[in-house]
């Protein structure tokens, strides 16, 4: 009973915080309402007994939203005062489309003949996930690792405006890199 109440409370928080992202008048508030929505969903995943994933969602998303807030302020140059930031296009179509999608998904959720539970959960869900990842599902883990590495490289390529030629000279022979911002280990 208590679990049900908590679940519905968290559901209301998650959805309302999600709506707030596109309603509030401040970038900081928008990104931290998204973080709140993620925390609520992470706690719901905890209620669904997937402890590791639930805590991981909270960990990752709070970090991401802290970064998100910095980017938003960097690009939009805002201050904490509330100012209208209603910057939308095609809102005329977006609202009906999303309402339609909701009705479709909700109908599916409510009226589809969901199967009854097959099998029972492992005694230690986290340990089972670990064994699975390091055993039969090793390929998934290896692929995710490569994708992450590729993401880091392409992210830096896209975002950095200085190349190694700017740092080390046209023939790459400069002994110390000429950076506008010196680093801490004096390379």
């Amino acid at each position: 009973m208590l679990a049900h109440l908590v679940f519905w409370g968290l559901a209301v928080v998650a959805v309302l915080a999600g709506v707030a992202v596109f309603v509030v008048n401040s970038m900081a508030r928008a990104s931290y309402s998204l973080a709140l929505s993620f925390i609520a969903v992470g706690l719901q995943v905890l209620l669904l007994q997937q402890l590791y994933v639930g805590v991981l969602v909270i960990l990752m998303m709070v970090m991401e939203m802290a970064i998100m807030a910095v980017y938003m302020n960097m690009f939009m140059g805002m201050n904490p005062a509330m100012m209208s930031m209603n910057m939308v296009h095609g809102a005329r179509h977006a609202l009906p489309v999303s309402v339609g999608v909701f009705l479709l998904l909700a109908a599916g959720a409510l009226f589809a003949p969901w199967p009854s539970r097959r099998g029972s959960p492992p005694a230690d869900v986290t340990a089972a996930l670990g064994t699975e990842l390091m055993g039969p599902k090793m390929l998934t883990m290896a692929t995710v690792g490569v994708v992450m590495a590729a993401t880091i490289v392409s992210g830096v390529v896209l975002a950095a405006h200085r190349t190694r030629y700017d740092r080390l000279g046209d023939d790459l022979r400069r002994p110390r890199a000429a950076d506008p911002q010196p680093g801490g280990v004096s390379r």
Partner: protein, 309 residues
């Protein structure tokens, strides 16, 4: 093999909070005494008490167009974080919250410092406070990954993410002995989330107090108490992770936990005036090029020993 701790009912939570509060008061008094000695005065141990009384009576300063909600959330958040961390720290045979993924839980909570410190800097709508917030995030980018991998080492060695089992796995040898790098990086991380000592540029005098520039009255008290509480909670969590949990001669297990936590906390408080401030721009490279590889090597070493041994 020591028995793993049993979860006690939530009614004991005020006791845990009280213990944390005691550690906070002790740390503040010690810091006052150290500050007095540094200033040449005979003893200024009472100074924190006077400061609390002053802040409780002070009127709140207001700033133009402040984001009050986020400001208050950030200021009070640090204290909440510390309280949530101590819920998974076993006190000898008892623990409040015997979570199967306790180590990840603490990791998720320490990330909240990014949000709370930055929000405290942002909410005031003051340039200096905001610079402080950004300085903290820059530090965060450098310390967070090494801190995460430092927490990995004890969990790998104990083959468990349950804090009680990590403590129980140190019957023979404390983890701090054979994973010193992870321990040092962990302590650095604790000091960082408490915006303490070397990580205090976010509150620097050169930016008029940084994040705390516009904080006054009860808000300031909450923020400062939150910093001490994080330091205390971090020291308490180091006990089951690195310092053998409740293991020790003569005294009962719970007393050993408190003794170890107090000693480590005193060390961290003392560190404040002994280590120079780390500039965020300089520390970035140190974090990524020195700390991260070092702690990864530590993890590798631990994994090899666990598999081989």
């Amino acid at each position: 093999m020591a028995e793993t701790p049993v979860a006690v009912s939530g009614g004991w939570a005020p006791v845990a909070a009280g213990l944390l509060g005691t550690l906070v008061v002790a740390a503040a008094l010690l810091d006052g005494a150290l500050a007095g000695r540094a200033a040449g005065a005979r003893s200024r141990m009472g100074r924190p008490v006077g400061e609390v009384a002053r802040l409780l009576r002070q009127r709140r300063r207001t700033t133009v167009a402040a984001d009050r909600l986020l400001w208050r959330v950030g200021g009070a958040g640090l204290l909440g974080m510390a309280l949530m961390i101590v819920t998974v720290v076993p006190l000898g045979r008892w623990t409040l919250f015997d979570l199967a993924v306790g180590v990840v839980w603490v990791n998720a909570l320490d990330v909240l410092a990014w949000a709370f410190v930055w929000l405290t800097g942002w909410g005031a709508n003051s340039a200096y406070a905001m610079i402080g917030g950004y300085r903290f995030l820059a530090h965060g980018l450098a310390y967070e990954l090494p801190l995460m991998f430092a927490l990995v080492a004890p969990a790998v060695a104990a083959s468990s993410l349950r804090v009680g089992e990590v403590a129980a796995a140190q019957q023979g040898l404390w983890f701090v002995v054979w994973m010193p790098v992870a321990f040092v990086v962990y302590c650095l991380g604790v000091v960082a989330i408490a915006v303490w000592g070397p990580f205090s540029p976010a509150l620097g005098r050169d930016v008029a107090g940084g994040v705390t520039a516009e904080l006054s009255g009860v808000d300031r008290l909450l923020f400062l108490a939150g910093r001490y509480a994080l330091l205390a909670a971090g020291a308490a969590f180091a006990v089951p992770m690195f310092l053998g949990g409740g293991g020790g001669p003569l005294l009962p297990a719970w007393a050993w936990v408190l003794v170890k936590a107090t000693v480590l906390l005193a060390g961290l408080v003392w560190l404040r005036r002994r280590v120079p401030a780390l500039r965020p721009d300089m520390f970035m490279e140190v974090g990524w090029l020195v700390l991260l590889p070092a702690v990864l090597l530590q993890d590798l070493l631990v994994a090899v020993i666990v598999i081989g041994g």
